[in-house]
Symmetry: C2
Subunit: 165 residues, 2 copies
DNA sequence: CAAAAGTTGACTGAAACAGTGGGGTATCAG
DNA sequence: CTGATACCCCACTGTTTCAGTCAACTTTTG
């Protein structure tokens, strides 16, 4: 089992996407700025998310990504499965044969743990996360800090400042 | 968060140790044979387990390792903590500052998950595992397969066969 | 058409994992 | 005393994954 930045980034990005869904398609450059994730790395992750049909893409100017389904039916476990190999904690991938074809002493323990984690992450949907008050607050601060590039007229100096940090 | 062979091996080895505790100190070579874990690798793991006082060692011929405490009070979470860095699932190690000092969108989710895993692994002790019927059965088969080198008189040819597989 | 966006693939440095090897040192049986 | 047995310690290595970069596409809109 492994849970690293990869899975965390994927969930963060999808949550950002869900929060800004009402403003039309969201492009990766915005997510990259707001969440501090490398743009190229995001592209890799979204390629996998698209293959799992968790998001769909709209190409061309004004395009971006949209959620593939309703936020209520997107579970955290599915997001992690899409980018990571799985949250399985056993060595044998549940086959029970990691010791020369025999079941090892601790197989059942890891199987129970896997089930526990999967149930937990499977019980939480994107909309559950959006509903949490702390998350709303954090998202607003992030929007404010990056000054909403879409609604007002774009200001060249300000964009340059954003890119050059 | 990561849960790999390292933590699994540590739990497996300690469980083997607990099962064979009634026959005096258990040496690593026996654990290595029974559980199919590299001897040198086991030594590294036991160095850490000893530092955490989960086991104590007896040197010299007839020596080996013994549990540092009663099996009831050794929790799986402690074993994994001893060899692995931790089962924390957050990026910030619980500090809430992984985005340039600010709390990231998904911090609370990972914190909840960490707590969930820690509670689960912290609620299970070595003696809980020993009590499970499947584990008793598997341990008996392992003992049988490796022919109990201690009780009967040692047979040169048989030992050679074991070493040469 | 040109610019904005997504799409794809190859590539990289760093870290961790899983394991090997070789030299120790304490202890006990004979 | 001596040598075998076991733990102890440290340096090293091949492989994999992560996290990220770079460059060259294609599609779509204004
Ligand atoms: S983890 Fe499944 S048999 Fe060992
Ligand atoms: S995981 Fe704690 S702040 Fe991001």
């Amino acid at each position: 089992m492994r849970l690293t930045t990869k899975g965390r980034y994927a969930v963060t990005a999808l949550l950002d996407l869900a929060i800004h869904a009402d403003q039309g398609p969201v492009n990766l450059a915005d997510i990259s700025r707001r969440q501090g994730i490398s743009l190229s790395y995001l592209e890799q992750l979204f390629a996998k998310l698209r293959r799992s049909e968790l998001v769909c893409s709209i190409r061309g100017p004004g395009g971006g990504y949209r959620l593939g389904r309703k936020p209520q039916s997107i579970r955290i476990a599915q997001i992690i499965d899409a980018v990571n190999e799985s949250v399985d904690a056993t060595k044998c991938q549940g086959k029970g044969n990691c010791q020369q074809g025999e079941t090892c002493l601790t197989h059942h323990l890891w199987q129970d743990l896997s089930e526990q984690i999967h149930d937990f992450l499977g019980s939480i949907s994107l909309s559950d996360l959006i509903a949490r008050s702390e998350i709303k607050r954090i998202a607003q601060q992030q929007d404010k800090r990056h000054e909403m590039l879409t609604p007002p007229e774009l200001d060249g100096a300000r964009i340059a400042a954003t890119f050059l940090q």
